[in-house]
Every structure is written in C-alpha cells, then in structure tokens.
C-alpha cells in the first residue's frame, strides 16, 4: 500500500513543472523555519521572563532561583563537583538503579501479562487483586523497602521494579488479549502447539503494546529510584535533591531536575531506536515527524 502510493506520488511529481516543485519545496522550508522559530521563541521568552522577574524582585530568587543561577550551579557541578561528590558518580548510581528496576520490572510485567492474558481463569481470579494493588499509591512502599533493604541500591531498585511492573503488566496483558483470533487459529491449523502459539503469535502481536509501555515505564523507574534515594540513601540524584533542599539551595534542585530530564530523554532515544529495529515489519505509518 504505502510503497505503491509513494511510487505513484513520485510519478506525478516528476511530471510537474520545475517551478511548481520548487514552490512546494520553498513552502515546506518556510513552514519548517516557522516551527523552529516559535520553538526557540517560546523557550527564550519563558526563561527571559523568569530571569527578569528574579532580577527585578517580582519573584524571590532565593525560593524560585533564576535560569542564570541554575546554569551556574550546573557548571559548578560538572566541573568542580556537588556537595556529596562527583556529579557523574551520582548520575551513574541513579542510572544503575533505574536500569535494574526497569529491566526486572519489565521482564516480570511481561511474563505476568502473558501468563494471565493466556489463562482465562487465572486472570478472572487475580484481576481484582491487580486492580487493588494498582490503586494503592506505590511510592509509599519506598519507606518499607528502605526499612527492609537498607540504604543501599536494593531498596531503590525494588521501588523502581514496583513502579514499572504494573504499567508493563497492564500493557502486556492487553496486548495478549488483543491478539488477532484469526492469526491464532491460523497458527493452530498450521500445526502450532499451545506454547508455539504463545511464542510465535501472541508475544509478537503483544510486542507493540509492550514496547509502547516501555517508553513511559523508564520515566517511572527513574521516579522510583529518585524517590527511593530521597527517602534514605548515601548517594544518587535523589540524595543530591534532598541535600539541596536541606541547604535551601533552589538552583541546586532545578539543576538536579535538568540532569534527570537529560537522563530520561537519553533513555527515550535509546528505546525509540530499539523499537524501530524490533518493529520493522510494521507499515511506516508512524514515520519520523519530529
């Protein structure tokens, strides 16, 4: 479908006079330029207004900081270090906790989703408990984990796992349930055993659901790790934030936020690349628009 209609478009375009083509290209360039201009304009206006408001005293820079003081804080962290040691060490600790929590939580979520999605009775029995567990604010569990697993990495990983699990589970479960009946019947007629139906039909068709959930769940893993560090730890970005808070260091809190944002964006880029590779079979309807 897609490739043939593209070929058709190309054929039509080739017959158009040059000036029409050039005009279209110019219009497209103009439009892209406009989008880029407004993107930059918005950030300049927001940061500029913030900076001016802070300098003129419209807001108190002691509580709300200013872009310039945040940038200065980041520079110090990156070049000299933070009150609790090298920034890179803190990033590395938080990253490790998030990645471990993300991987363990996703694997458990996928397995649970597939098992319950494939077993009607089991899912009918357990759905109610999953719903209850899902409605409880899970961040509170962080306190339990710090008590049980101590100030080290384990308590943060555990909280990240819990945060990730439910999201991935819900998506995997839904993905399994949505697997096309015709594909499952076809596999059975072709000779697939129930296990082969699961591995070669159900899991691949749930894959787009699962991959979609992984995007959000890495941010949740990060939240789990940071909140865990907040509640009690010896290193990590969460501790950095808690320390800055204790010192009434507003620029420090914002600077830590920016570091976390950078980590989340980086992880998202990695996941997007992985998703592209895994879903080559899908029609290019979700082509790169950004």
């Amino acid at each position: 479908m897609t490739s043939s209609s593209q070929a058709l478009d190309a054929g039509v375009a080739a017959k158009l006079p040059d000036d029409v083509e050039q005009a279209a290209a110019r219009a497209l360039r103009r439009y892209r330029g406009k989008v880029r201009f407004w993107r930059v304009a918005i950030i300049v206006v927001v940061l500029g207004a913030w900076e001016i408001a802070g300098r003129t005293g419209a807001i108190d820079p002691f509580f709300f900081a200013m872009p310039s003081s945040i940038a200065a804080k980041l520079r110090v962290w990156l070049t000299v270090g933070t009150p609790i040691g090298s920034i890179y060490a803190q990033v590395w600790v938080t990253l490790q906790e998030s990645i471990l929590g993300f991987v363990i939580g996703s694997v458990l979520g996928v397995i649970a989703g597939i098992v319950l999605g494939r077993n009607r009775t089991l899912s009918d029995v357990l759905t109610i408990y999953v719903r209850i567990a899902n409605s409880v604010p899970r961040v509170v569990l962080g306190s339990i984990f710090v008590i049980a697993f101590g100030l080290g990495m384990a308590s943060k990983v555990a909280l990240a796992v819990v945060m990730v699990f439910f999201i991935v589970f819900a998506n995997a479960f839904q993905g399994v349930r949505e697997a096309d009946r015709a594909l499952i019947s076809n596999a059975r007629f072709l000779g697939a055993s129930p296990l082969q139906v699961t591995t070669s039909v159900v899991i691949p068709s749930a894959m787009s659901w699962i991959l979609a959930s992984l995007h959000i769940s890495f941010s949740f893993a990060l939240v789990g790790a940071v909140v865990g560090e907040f509640l009690g730890s010896r290193q990590g970005i969460g501790l950095l934030i808690a320390t800055a808070q204790g010192l009434f260091d507003a620029p420090g809190v914002f600077a830590a936020m920016i570091v976390l944002g950078a980590i989340a964006l980086g992880a998202d880029a990695v996941l997007t690349a992985a998703e592209r590779r895994l879903l080559v079979w899908r029609p290019a309807a979700t082509a790169d628009r950004w």
Partner: protein, 268 residues
Amino acid sequence: MPSTEPAPAGAPIIELRRVSRQFVTPDGRSLLALRDFDLTVRRGQFVAIVGPTGCGKSTTLNLITGLARPTTGEVEVLGRPVDRIDPRVGFVFQSDALFPWRNVLDNVTAGPRFRGRTRSDAEAAARDWIERVGLAGFEHHYPHQLSGGMRKRCALAQTFINGPEVLLMDEPFSALDVQTRVVMQDELLRLWESTGASVVFVTHDIEEAIGLADRVYVLTARPATVKAVYDIDLPRPRVLSEIRYDERFVAISRVIWNDLRRDAIALA
C-alpha cells in the same frame, strides 16, 4: 464403520450426518444455526457451499475442523469423529491471517517449522511453494508490502506446504477485486489439481461456486439446511476467465438462480 486406514479414491473424506448446531446468545436465547444438515465430500472432490450471508456456512467449516461441536448428529473427517484440529486439515481464512511480523519466506515456513522440520528443510520446501504460487523474488517482503492478491498467494503457499488432505476455505477471495479474484480462482484450481486434496469452499458467490466446484450445496437462510445439491459436470481443467461464457456454465447458473429466486426475493 469408521476406519483409520487411508481412504481409497472416491471414499467419503468428510461426512456430516443430520447435524444440528445450536448457539446460546449472550442474552441467553438459543439460536439454531444448522438444522438436519447432511454433507458428503469424497476424496479429491471440490465441494462448494453457497448460501445467504450469515446463514451458517462458517459454522459448517467450524464443525469440520472441530472448533465447534454438533449439538446433534455426527461429523466424521478422514474416517474418524472429529475431536481436535487434525494436522491433515488446512484452512484458508477470509481475512488476512498472515503473520504481519514475518516476511513471505518465514510465513510459508511457519507450518513445517511448527511441525518440527529443520529450518533448511522447511526453507527449501517454502522456496518451492513460493515459486509455485508466483511469489518468487518477494521472499523478504513483509505482508504490508504486498498487494491483496499477493497476500492470498502467500496464504495459499502457507497452507499447501503442509500437504493437507482436506482443504477448507472460508470465502477466501471475497475481499479481492473482481479481476484479482478470477486470477486467484484459476491459481487455486491449478494448485489443487496438482495436490488432489478434498476441498470444502464456502462462498456467497454462486458463479464462483459453479466455476470451481464438482458439487455445489445451496443452503437456506438460518437455520441453514441443504436446500439443493447440484453436480457440476463442466470438464477440467477449467479456466475461470473463460468458463463464464461456456454454454453449460450459463445453463447451470440459470437453473440454480431460478431455484434460488424465491429465497433471494424473500431475503431482499
């Protein structure tokens, strides 16, 4: 008496005897889909089942595959009562049932791989079938990159590679445009004649049924039962694009249409 011996030529391969099938709808009412249904398919025979939309044609196929059980009556396939999906039965679906995440080659190898053949063995057989259905050169295309007709070719290769003795087809070409449909009908006859499978072909298109089949079962509206059976004595091999102008074909169509007229008017 049912026997597990391979049936000789002309022996019944599929037998439905006075079969009825009742459903219970979600709101608790019972619905009779089939009533006192008799059907016999002999070895190597091409049988078409025609009937108004929603009359229970697909139910018939589900009974033959074992996906549905008869409420009363008996269903025997390949000499024994049906209790599960038989590996000797192949099924071609109305919808697109190719695995979208597998390319053509991997779709066609699916059956042999599920059945435990080695990858190289399965691929050799698959390349042969891909060639036979005219998809050579498209081995590494994904289904979404193929046209509707090419996807059907792939589905046929995927089913034929398992060497089914019984081939069940549920309106397989109904989603295709008219020209492609005729091409695929000829393709199907060519492939079928080389394998000798027994076919049950469900369709709502009477011309398609007459052109393809040795015997046409016409069903009544729900609850479906056999309204009439027609033996089609058109010589084989047939070419669908030409047969529609054949005098015998026209005569048979006229007889069946006349018989159906009253039903069709009642339904319209």
